[in-house]
Symmetry: C2
Amino acid sequence: MKIDHDNPADLSAQIAEAIRDSIISGAMIVDERLPSESDLAEQFDVSRSTIREALKRLAAQSLIRTQRGAFGGAFVNRLSYDDAREQLITTSTLLLSMNEVSFDTACEARFALERACASMAVERRLDAHLDIMEREIARQSDADLSDEAFCASDVTFHRALVDAACNPVLSYQLSGSIEAMQPLMNMITFTARSRAQIIEIHSELTEALRARDTQAAKNTLNRLESYTKQLAHAVMSAKSKKRH
Amino acid sequence: MKIDHDNPADLSAQIAEAIRDSIISGAMIVDERLPSESDLAEQFDVSRSTIREALKRLAAQSLIRTQRGAFGGAFVNRLSYDDAREQLITTSTLLLSMNEVSFDTACEARFALERACASMAVERRLDAHLDIMEREIARQSDADLSDEAFCASDVTFHRALVDAACNPVLSYQLSGSIEAMQPLMNMITFTARSRAQIIEIHSELTEALRARDTQAAKNTLNRLESYTKQLAHAVMSAKSKKRH
DNA sequence: GACTTTTAAATGTCTGACAAATGAAAATTG
DNA sequence: CAATTTTCATTTGTCAGACATTTAAAAGTC
């Protein structure tokens, strides 16, 4: 394990990459302990601060976890679905907010993926999934609910739909995509009228899943996609009118 | 900007989170310069090393970039599609390798997503996409191609299919999913016979896209999914036989 | 044997220093 | 005056050494 001191790139970045490669390649396995910071400093022939910066980079990606005390140290971390989802959400949210992605593009991607889940969910959904969806529909029907809480409930509803496909990899990918869109959805102020419409579509979707009717589920999702886009367009044109 | 020195969590983690929140919330915009490390140290009332560890955490997530020299410093980074994809691939690859996800589960998720792209790709594909797909089919037909190169070409082929949907958000999500599966695909040693079969399916898929035939495209993807699973099962049972 | 104390090892934090890069400003030169 | 070179202040990158804190094993005690 040697590092190029003449490389213009940061030493800590090079070291982080070297360790990351060992982990990804499988040379280091889950829960294996890395050498202590002092040992690593000696091995790579750099100072302890540099090693620490490298380790912090890896920790930020949930590749390692650290523990203080004797017999503590840095350990290769098992990346959980929740950690992975968390990172996916951060990345996707930033990507959407920083790259002038149009609402329609994001919306289209989201519903394309969600429709892919729908046909699997129709076959595999359990009663537990339907229960969650109905619970959220009930919550959404509360007129006192704030817009933020309405959106949060919407996320929970759709996450249940995705989970109903009973494929954890799909759940991980999709829930990231759905949650990343929440900031965009929050721009839309939901009127009483639009809430009623969305709740109706949610109910229809739940019933399609209950009846295991693939086509109905897809049609309903199409309707929701159009309606969501329509709402967004209304908000945008109202905003641009205000500006004039 | 104050930090709780009594919090058991690392100071650098707390500080990184505080800065990350400013970026995600939009309080700091793209290309905006953060205060210098010394200034941040003073603001948060910690040492410069602690600040540096926090900044390295953010750099590892491509949230900031740093530049040396006068008028250098740390700047909020615009997260590009490529950076985002890179992170998604790392995360997904680790998730699959560390969590005993079955080949079938990963495969199922991948093709579910890819089918979602197919119907959009049928409508929007350009000739350029078909050209790439045909080029890769030609490459795959070369008998001298190594298994690794065959897999790499396979990834390029499917990425072209995904890109044909002409939705960058979808491309970002899907190419991550597809590339993350490559280590699993590499386990399969492709015989001449299975290569011929896959190439045939690829050709069929390209033709379906050319003819803008949605149903044919979906059916072909289903066939590829079954065949991929079948190959993987053959490899696994061969391996377990060897062990006995 | 059960409990307490000690101790060694490791990470977390701080301080102070110097190297290297870099762009602006000042000085120099034609 | 214009172009070039030099100087210089600022900022990140790296290092060395110190001390605080945490932790679990080991030793000691009853």
